[in-house]
Amino acid sequence: MGNTLLQYATVLMLSIFVGIEIIAKVPSILHTPLMSGSNAIHGVIIVGAMLVLGGATTNLQEVLGFLAVILATMNVVGGFVVTDRMLEMFKPKPTKPKSTSNDEVAK
C-alpha cells in the first residue's frame, strides 16, 4: 500500500515539472486557447465518473455517479469544442481573399 502511494506521488511530482516546463514559452495571444484547452484536458475526470457509476452499488452512489458523468461530459465535450472554435480562427490564410468592400473601393 505504501509503495502504491509512493508511486502515485512520483507521478504527481514529475507531472508538476512537466506542466510548468511545457507552457513556459507560450505567446500571450495563445493564453486564452491554452486555458480553454487545459480546461478540456481536466475533463478526463469523465473516466473517474464512469468508474464510480460503473461500480455504484447503492442508489445514492448511482445518483451521484450519474450526475458526475453528466457534468464531466459537459466539461470534456464543451471544452474541446470551444477550444477548437477559438483555434479555427488562427489558421493561416494561404491567399488573402478579396472581400466585397475592396471591390467597392476600386471603383
Binding site: 502515485y8 507521478v11 507531472s15 512537466v18 506542466g19 510548468i20 507552457i23 507560450v26 505567446p27 500571450s28 495571444i29 495563445l30 493564453h31 486557447p33 491554452l34 486555458m35 480553454s36 484547452g37 487545459s38 480546461n39 478540456a40 484536458i41 481536466h42 475533463g43 478526463v44 475526470i45 473516466v47 473517474g48 465518473a49 464512469m50 468508474l51 464510480v52 460503473g54 455504484a56 452499488t57 447503492t58 455517479g65 450526475l67 458526475a68 458523468v69 453528466i70 457534468l71 461530459t73 459537459m74 466539461n75 465535450v77 464543451g78 474541446f80 469544442v81 470551444v82 477548437d84 472554435r85 483555434l87 479555427e88 488562427f90 493561416p92 481573399p97 468592400s101 473601393v105 476600386a106
Partner: protein, 465 residues
C-alpha cells in the same frame, strides 16, 4: 497481455497526448492539431474505460453511463458551438465549474463505495481535498460566470469584516477536514461539501472587473488539482497526470496573466480592486477640464490626411460586434496608401489573447496585429491612434499616478501619437473603473456612440471623401 495492462497502456497513450496537446497549444501553428490530438486521446481513454473491471466485474450501469454522456453532450455542444465569441470567458468558466463539480462528486462517491465494502476504512486526505477543491471550484466558477454574464454586478462585492469572515470559513473547513480524518464521519463529509461551496462563493465575491479572467484561470488550475486528488482516491495514474498537468500549468498561466496587468496574484485576489471608484459620467469635471468630442465625419477627414494609423481595440469593440467594420475601415485606408496596424494589449478584451481571437474572426491579417512593445515604438511616429472601445489599456495613469490602482501596469502609449481618437459609448470608466486622464488631453477627440455604428459612419465618410 492482460486486459488491465492493455487498458493501462491506452491510458498511458492518452496521458501522452495530453502532454503533446499542451505543448502544441503553445505555438499558433500546432495549436489546433494539439487540441485534436488531446480530444483523440480522451476518446481512447473513454472507450478503454468501458472495458475496465471494477471490483472484479465489468462496469455496471453501462446504459446509464451512456445516457449521462448523451445528456451532457446535448447540453454542451450547442452551447459551445453557437455562443458568441465575446462570451468565451464565461463559457470557459462554466465548463470549468462543472468539471470541478464532477471531481468532487467522484471523490465523495468513491469514498462511500470503498467504505461500504470496507467499513473500517478511514477517510484519507485526498478524498477531502478532492471534495474541498472541486466544490470550491464549482461554486467559484458559478459566481464568476454570473459576474461575466451580468446576472449580477461585475464589480467587486465587499462588506465589513470580509477578510475576517473568509478566514473564519476557511478555518472551519480546515477543522472539519482534521475532524473527518479522525472520525471518518460521512455526515461531516457532506457538511464539508457545503462549507467548500460557501468558501468558493465568498472568495470570488470581492473579485471583479478585469480580474475575473485571472480568477477563472486560477479556478481552472484548482479543478485540475481536484481531478488529481480524485485520481489518488481511484488509484488512477491517468487522472493524476492529467489533473496535475492542468494544475501546474494553470497556476503558472495565472501568474503570467496577472503579470500582464502589472500586478501580483495576491493583489488580484485579495484587494477588491476597483470597488471604491465611482463613475462620474459627466463630460466636465470639478477642475474645469473638459473633453472635445467630434463626429465620425470629422474623424474620417483626420484619417484621410494621416500616413500612419494605429487601431487600439478593446472590449467595447467586441461588445458592439464592430470588428468586421473595423477591418473594412482598415482595408479602405490601406487602399489609400495609409499604413494601418492594430496594437494589441496583452489583456485587451477580457482574457489575454481574447482580442486576437476576435480580430482573427473578422479575418484581420496576422501581420497587422502588433504586440504592445512593438506598437509603443511605432506610436511616436503615428498620426492617429484610434482607440476603439478600450480604456484602461491606454490609461497614462499607469505611468504617471502612483496612487492609481493600475500604477505600474504596462500600457499602450496612445498619448505619443499626434492625434488620439476615442470611440466610446459614454464617459463611464472602463472595466477596471478608473478615470482616464487621456480623455481630457487637448489632442484627444471623443466620438460617442456604439463603436459599430460610429465605424460604419466613418467607413461611409472615408469612401465619400
Amino acid at each position: 497481455m492482460s486486459r488491465e495492462t492493455l487498458i493501462d497502456l491506452l491510458y498511458l497513450f492518452a496521458a501522452t497526448t495530453f502532454v503533446l496537446a499542451l505543448k502544441g497549444l503553445g505555438s499558433p501553428k500546432h495549436a489546433r492539431k494539439g487540441n485534436m490530438v488531446a480530444a483523440f486521446g480522451m476518446l481512447v481513454a473513454v472507450v478503454a474505460t468501458f472495458f475496465k473491471y471494477v471490483d472484479g466485474h465489468s462496469l455496471r450501469h453501462i446504459w446509464l453511463i451512456l445516457l449521462g454522456m448523451f445528456i451532457g453532450a446535448l447540453i454542451a455542444v450547442p452551447t459551445a458551438r453557437f455562443i458568441k465569441m465575446t462570451a468565451m470567458p464565461q463559457l470557459v468558466a462554466i465548463f470549468n465549474g462543472v468539471g470541478g463539480g464532477a471531481a468532487a462528486l467522484v471523490s465523495i462517491t468513491e469514498f462511500m463505495h470503498i467504505k461500504a465494502s470496507h467499513p473500517a476504512t478511514y477517510v484519507t486526505l485526498e478524498v477531502l481535498l478532492g471534495v474541498l477543491i472541486g466544490t470550491f471550484s464549482f461554486a467559484g466558477s458559478a459566481i464568476a460566470f454570473a459576474k461575466l454574464q451580468e446576472l449580477m454586478t461585475g464589480r467587486p462585492i465587499t462588506y465589513p469584516g470580509q477578510q475576517v469572515i473568509n478566514a473564519i470559513v476557511g478555518l472551519v473547513a480546515i477543522v472539519l477536514i482534521v475532524t473527518i480524518l479522525f472520525t471518518s464521519s460521512t455526515v461531516l463529509l457532506w457538511i464539508l461539501l457545503a462549507v467548500s461551496a460557501v468558501l468558493g462563493v465568498i472568495f470570488v465575491l470581492p473579485i471583479g472587473g478585469a480580474d475575473v479572467p485571472v480568477l477563472i484561470s486560477l479556478l481552472n488550475a484548482f479543478t485540475g488539482l481536484a481531478v488529481a486528488a480524485s485520481g489518488f482516491t481511484l488509484g488512477s495514474n491517468l487522472l493524476i497526470v492529467a489533473g496535475t498537468l492542468v494544475g501546474a500549468s494553470g497556476i503558472l498561466l495565472t501568474r503570467m496573466m496577472s503579470k500582464a496587468m502589472g500586478r501580483s496574484l495576491t493583489n488580484v485576489l485579495f484587494s477588491a480592486f476597483g470597488s471604491n471608484i465611482t463613475a462620474s459620467g459627466a463630460t466636465e469635471r470639478a477642475d474645469g477640464a473638459s473633453v472635445r468630442s467630434g463626429t465620425p465625419e470629422d474623424i474620417a477627414i483626420l484619417l484621410g490626411f494621416a500616413s500612419r494609423v494605429v487601431f487600439i481595440p478593446g472590449y467595447g469593440l467586441a461588445v458592439s460586434q464592430g470588428q468586421h467594420v473595423l477591418r473594412e475601415l482598415a482595408e479602405l485606408l490601406e487602399s489609400k496608401g495609409i499604413e494601418v496596424s492594430y496594437a494589441i494589449h496583452p489583456v485587451a478584451g477580457r482574457m489575454p489573447g481574447h482580442m486576437n481571437v476576435l480580430l482573427a474572426e473578422a479575418n484581420v491579417p496576422y501581420e497587422q496585429l502588433v504586440e504592445m512593445d512593438e506598437a509603443n515604438s511605432e506610436l511616436a511616429t503615428t498620426d492617429v491612434a484610434l482607440v476603439v472601445g478600450a480604456n484602461d489599456t491606454v490609461n497614462p495613469a499607469a505611468h504617471d499616478d502612483p496612487s492609481s490602482p493600475i500604477y505600474g501596469m504596462p500600457i499602450i502609449n496612445a498619448d505619443l501619437a499626434e492625434n488620439v481618437v476615442f470611440l466610446k459609448r459614454s464617459m463611464r470608466p472602463g472595466f477596471a473603473g478608473i478615470e482616464n486622464e487621456l480623455l481630457y488631453n487637448p489632442k484627444t477627440t471623443l466620438v460617442f456612440g456604439d463603436a459599430k455604428d460610429t465605424l460604419t459612419k466613418m467607413v461611409a465618410a472615408v469612401k465619400a471623401g
